[in-house]
Amino acid sequence: MLFNSVSFLIFFPVVVLGYFAIPEKLKNYWLLIASYYFYMSWQPVYALLILFSTVTTYYCAVFIDKAKTQKQKKLFLASNIVVNIAILCYFKYFNFIVESLLAVFPNLSIAPNNNLLAVVGISFYTFQSLGYSIDVYRGEVEKAKDFLTYALFVSFFPQLVAGPIERSKNLLPQLYKSNKFDYNRVTDGLVLMGWGFFKKLVISDGAALIVNAVYNDVTKFTGIQLIMATVLFAFQIYCDFSGYSDIAIGAANVIGFKLMRNFNHPYFSQNVTQFWRNWHISLSTWFMDYIYIPLGGSRKGRIRTYVNLFITFMVSGLWHGASWNFVIWGAINGAYNVIHRILFGKREQRRRQRIKEGKPVPKTNPAVAVAKAVGTFVLIDFTWVFFRANTMADAMYVLQNLFTDFSLIFTSGYFVQMMEKIGFYTNNGIAIFCCILFMFAVELWEGKSTLVERINKSKWFVRWAFYYTIIILIIFFGYFGQSQFIYFQF
């Protein structure tokens, strides 16, 4: 069931009304049933997999909690990690591993399994489960009080299929508390959902029509067409994923749960390191806490820090998808971060130290800030080529032809003609760019607060103008073909 489907428009109000209408002790049962129903609407058989992962992790955590020695704890944690990673590897990476092996050793007697199910959201709930068991092992969180609560923690429908990847210390305690209908909280949630729908239906799905036209047949296009599609993809993926996150966080908020922020204006970032602190925050921090720091983080010398950073980004690339495109995408981002650390690591450290000590930090000139943001965008957009291209060959074609006939764009009519060929005008390309500008204007308006906080501080007519604008833009320019969210495949 997609958030942008009629089914969800019926499902969500029913769940919310039911949740507030039933007695307190039944609320979590109700949410659990709703969450499994939500998940099973893709493939009922998926439920078995998530149930298996839930049972395994829950009991491993129970055994970790009861274990008397550190060695026993470690054993239970290791077995839980092995089981969950094995499931993930089998369903997500088996064919990739086999195909890669066959490419190197063509005579091996193994074959890809074409009947393997693509399990929606498996990377998300596996990581959430792993995070929980590691937290229990580290003693950072108590084990779940009962199986029902833990099962709901793993399967909570707003964030089940594409995050945010919640931490047990944030979500689990909320599941023990009672939630009553709260007008302000519900409206805050609805506003965030509306903003998420705007980003998804208007910008992401609109841009997707143009991006897909180019990237599904790249060799037909050159120069400015490839650039336009690549730039639009940067906005498509941002609005798709942050739109999903906003809907998820908003939906959870309506019911009474506070999920972690997943995006913080990433395209305003001044450098690639900052970008990764602001993009898919729940995953970045997950990797930081459970991969980078256990590897030694920055505690084992400079060289080791760079290696750890690089490994973390490589794993992040592989997490996103079972293909070499994603590995290379991760590697480039890893390289960016290592280089940034080498060049600006000390300066960043000093800056953070000053902030920590409460000393004033020199302000960046706005023009320089814009130039840095644009530069960062260009670097990041370069990596999106590998993320979006259907094959490595396509990615290489795009990179080799990005600037073909570039000088011709100053020829009269050439740009318009090139844009017509990728369906820029027929697919509301101009309106999409206007909406992107509107989105950036709203993000600037937000400043350091969240959208909801900013709106709540505004005068009533500003609030209502915002609500009306969002709805009208969705109605006029939204795409209602029920397209998938990009991150569902991960």
């Binding site: 507030f20 209908f181 409206t187 209502w464 609500y467 009306y468 709805i471 009208i472 109605i475 006029f476």
Partner: protein, 358 residues
């Protein structure tokens, strides 16, 4: 909760506005029929002659006309383009509507009556322009523009036949479109496209109707062919007929027998109309000599053309229905000069064959 509902109601104007625009513009013609045809129909109901026939979906127009006209026409004419010139001058002061369709097939034959019947606007007289192919049992029988769903509806609703392909439409179903933002977006597109006058039908002044460069649609549904077509040299018209005669005759190939299902339906339909006291007239529009001779020369292939005429005449006798015209031009005293091409008689020649309808 009530406060929330109250606040949500403040968004209602947006959705009501969206529904209003979708309903008024109605890009798919769910509520008002297709836009261009709707405009043509409005002009026709005002008694105007209209240009833009090439863009017109005649079937859609007839449906809209049947729905929008205040009273049932006293005389209803059906058939193909071969009967489309039959106009009110044949009607002896009665009201007439010509619901014939270009490329009409057997579905159109029955649908042209059904569109009026379902609006309870049955005529007093029904002039059936019968082409020989409407009983064709072969695959060439059906025109892609005709409405099979409506035909199945006709079978069930009027003839009380069984049809597995017809499920009664839920009248509320179409209103779902009003809640669909995609329909609203299409409405906005259509609205702005319609602002371009190039896409709109134009009124032809009465005095220009017979001098017009394009086909003109008359307020009674008949058409006036364009000046060039009507006045082109007879050798050109005969040349067209000759070319048509050396090719396969229109929808007459793969025609082994008169389809028993359709002949049975035809007779049941006649009985149904007669029970309703609707007077029936059969009209067989003639073919150019070259076409008719080509059929005579290849009886193995075109024998059904002659069988249909015999069948219509015997059915006329059986039910007491007058039969006018003949596929054979000689039988009704027509010469080559009575034709504009192989299949279409001149307006004046129609007058020779079909008397005033009373």
């Amino acid at each position: 909760m009530l406060k929330l509902i109250g606040r949500l109601l403040l968004f209602l104007p947006i959705f009501l506005g969206m529904m209003f625009v979708s309903y008024r513009v109605d890009p798919s013609g769910l509520f008002w029929g297709a836009g261009f045809e709707r405009m043509v129909c409005d002009y026709m109901l005002q008694g105007q002659y209209v240009d833009g026939y090439q863009q017109l979906d005649g079937r859609e127009l007839n449906e809209i006309y049947a729905r929008e006209c205040e009273k049932a026409p006293q005389i209803l004419v059906n058939g193909s383009s071969r009967t489309l010139q039959i106009d009110s001058s044949f009607a002896d002061g009665k009201t007439l509507y010509n619901a014939a369709n270009v490329g009409a097939d057997v579905y159109d034959f029955f649908n042209s009556y059904y569109i009026f019947a379902k609006e309870s606007k049955e005529p007093e007289i029904f002039v059936m322009g019968i082409d020989p192919w409407i009983f064709n049992d072969g695959k060439e029988n059906i025109d892609e523009r005709s409405n099979k769903e409506m035909f199945n509806e006709f079978l069930v609703e009027i003839m009380d036949y069984e049809s597995t392909e017809y499920t009664p439409e839920n009248p509320m179903e179409k209103y779902k479109a009003l809640l669909d933002p995609s329909y609203f977006q299409a409405s906005v597109d259509t609205y702005f496209r319609n602002q371009n006058t190039e896409n709109q039908p134009e009124i032809v002044p009465m005095e220009e109707v017979y001098n017009n460069k394009d086909i003109v649609k008359s307020p009674d549904g008949s058409i006036v062919y364009d000046l060039n077509f009507r006045t082109r040299p007879q050798e050109t018209a005969d040349g067209d007929a000759l070319t048509a005669s050396v090719n396969d005759l229109l929808r007459m190939t793969d025609y082994d027998q008169l389809d028993p299902y359709y002949t049975q339906l035809f007779e049941d339909f006649i009985e149904y109309l007669q029970q309703k006291d609707i007077k029936i007239i059969f009209f067989l529009p003639s073919f150019h000599h070259y076409i008719y001779w080509a059929a005579q020369a290849d009886m193995g292939k075109y024998h059904c053309l002659f069988k249909v005429e015999d069948y219509i005449k015997s059915t006329g006798d059986k039910y007491g229905i007058p039969v006018y015209g003949s596929y054979d031009p000689d039988a009704v005293g027509l010469t080559n000069k009575d034709f504009m091409d192989g299949y279409h008689m001149r307006y004046e020649s129609l007058k020779k064959v079909l008397p005033t309808i009373e």
